[in-house]
Symmetry: C2
Amino acid sequence: MVSERIKKLAMNNSAIRAMFEEGRVMAEKYGRENVYDFSLGNPNYPAPEAVKQAMIDLLNEEDPVYLHGYMSNAGFESVRAAVAGSLNDRFGTAFTENNIIMVSGASPGLNIVLKTLLDPGDEVIVFAPYFVEYGNYTANYDGKLVVVQPTTADFQPSPEALEAAITPRTKVVIVNSPNNPTGVIYSEETIKNLAAVLEKKQAEYGTSIFLLSDEPYRELAYDGAVVPFITKYYRNTVVCYSWSKSLSLPGERIGYVVIPSEVDDFELVFSGAVISFRVLGYINAPSLQQLAVARCLNESTDVSAYDANRRLLYDGLTKCGFECVFPQGAFYMWGKSPIADDKAFSAAAKKYRLLLVPGSSFAGPGYVRIAYCVSSETIRNSMPSFRQLAEEFGLKGVE
Amino acid sequence: MVSERIKKLAMNNSAIRAMFEEGRVMAEKYGRENVYDFSLGNPNYPAPEAVKQAMIDLLNEEDPVYLHGYMSNAGFESVRAAVAGSLNDRFGTAFTENNIIMVSGASPGLNIVLKTLLDPGDEVIVFAPYFVEYGNYTANYDGKLVVVQPTTADFQPSPEALEAAITPRTKVVIVNSPNNPTGVIYSEETIKNLAAVLEKKQAEYGTSIFLLSDEPYRELAYDGAVVPFITKYYRNTVVCYSWSKSLSLPGERIGYVVIPSEVDDFELVFSGAVISFRVLGYINAPSLQQLAVARCLNESTDVSAYDANRRLLYDGLTKCGFECVFPQGAFYMWGKSPIADDKAFSAAAKKYRLLLVPGSSFAGPGYVRIAYCVSSETIRNSMPSFRQLAEEFGLKGVE
């Protein structure tokens, strides 16, 4: 009855779904406070008060026909201009409203860019470990996903491996920094090296290769780390941004796409992305959210809370004997599974009421992802469980 | 550079886009109040005060982590249960939250159902004139659009024509009542006849044919007209609803999909639709809007204002000598072009600062669509222009 594709997706879906269900059942059995759910990227810290005030002001002040009405599919011009101005102030770029499309989070941004660019069989390169939905988004438009294996020393994408993966059919390379699931920030050197490879291969094949930068974690950087703004390093860059994490608004579905004027075939790429947004049924990003974020462009979530969690969790886990990548950004810790089979390790963790996502779910077997966008209390209370888990696997902890 | 499909779409897009641009230029030249823009389905009447109050209350009362956070891809369970309950109260159905998916308007609803059901080459039947995006939505999933020609006497879909169009590859039939662009409400007799044809053909071919009911205008019915609730007439019905028009919230992108438990392969169709919503990048319908509409299920826009517009416009146009379908619902009037070439007629109308959409844009040549979701003043002030237009085409008006 349903399509062959959806049948397959429904089958693959069951693993993660089962985890959610299990979490629920465990919470009912042991009490929510006794289940340490590190599986979800749902920020536990509230949106800044300014968001609430902006929404209430808009509802009180604006004509509802304007506030709740249709606008251009690309979004309110005033909002797009404000976003462009904010980017220019921060990154020294020269965008205008004609470079910005307001979208319903980063994921529709990725979808409309892929729909705009991909002919069936065109290749999309991703660096493992990666957000699995990239594979589904690529499949939506009959693209072929090409996975570059990680450099496990530092989890920076390897320019050599990228070069080896590029073919004349390569249309898009997706990057994601700060990274989900590793917490790594791509260094300026990495970006420069990737850009050099792309320039070289574009010239060699006479093609255009788009660097698609998925940036929902841009503002979540620790220790004053700088996240390079990629449009400055490579001409054919498109940026997908979301306020889901930076303003703790994941349910509200609001973000933007930046298409710089210097990308190849700019007019067609920009109008194609707007048309794709419309024909995929999005029509426009929610109007109240658009106008609200435009008033909160200088606001940000409290990164210090995530930073404290990061240190607490990293210290705790290493003391137990676990080996983890110390995160530079985002709110995920990438921990090495003490056994090769990360699914078995995640399954064992459940005995101690710890919910960790197997790295295999990100094409990164041998690891687990631990989302620390939880309360610090959850982290503190989970430590005896992590210690038991470490002991089960014979890890040597320190007191 | 961009995909072949998008290149084509960008080219086809230019006609309607040119109209919008022309409207803008005209408004600048003659003043907005002197341009009679009947081209857009953007409600001119404000959302009920209760919507504003619900949003403000939610912002003041709810924990922002809950209010703005992720929930199940299908939407908040409490909201889905409330929607199910409201439908049951009104239509005597027996839905639960497990039959409801909260989506970002009717258009994503149509998209996720088509993505769930269509294998490449599967056929989707529509009745002309129809909302052109149905063609794009079908093409998104490599479906084949099959157009049934209209019965111009009453613009009710013809069961005989439907029967002739069905093949073993027919997967979906889209209906839209109250109809855009004709303003017609499908009668109970029509629905029963269509259902009988579908039952017969399902049995004959051993297939499942889904009736996909696009219902953004459900609440906009005049003279006490009853809009039959189609799930009661045909088992394999899926309903796509939006609050865009009924609560004047088109920019906010909020609606729902109903998948009754009795459809073939219910579990797979329901989970497939939720997965499709996720993998197309929607993730979930905007959270504030979900919770707000759940508090406004008994609210509705002021239909009497549209009704007054309807009579004003119909009387005015018929007095000018135009022939129009008297609308039973929605806020569109379907007028006969006095010449076969509706595009030329629409072009001529612009001379009198009248913006009408050619019927060809709805696969209904020889007609124009006149959207009367404008102020009554616009309609009143446009009458001298319509009279001049009628005179140009030699129509005989009455005083």
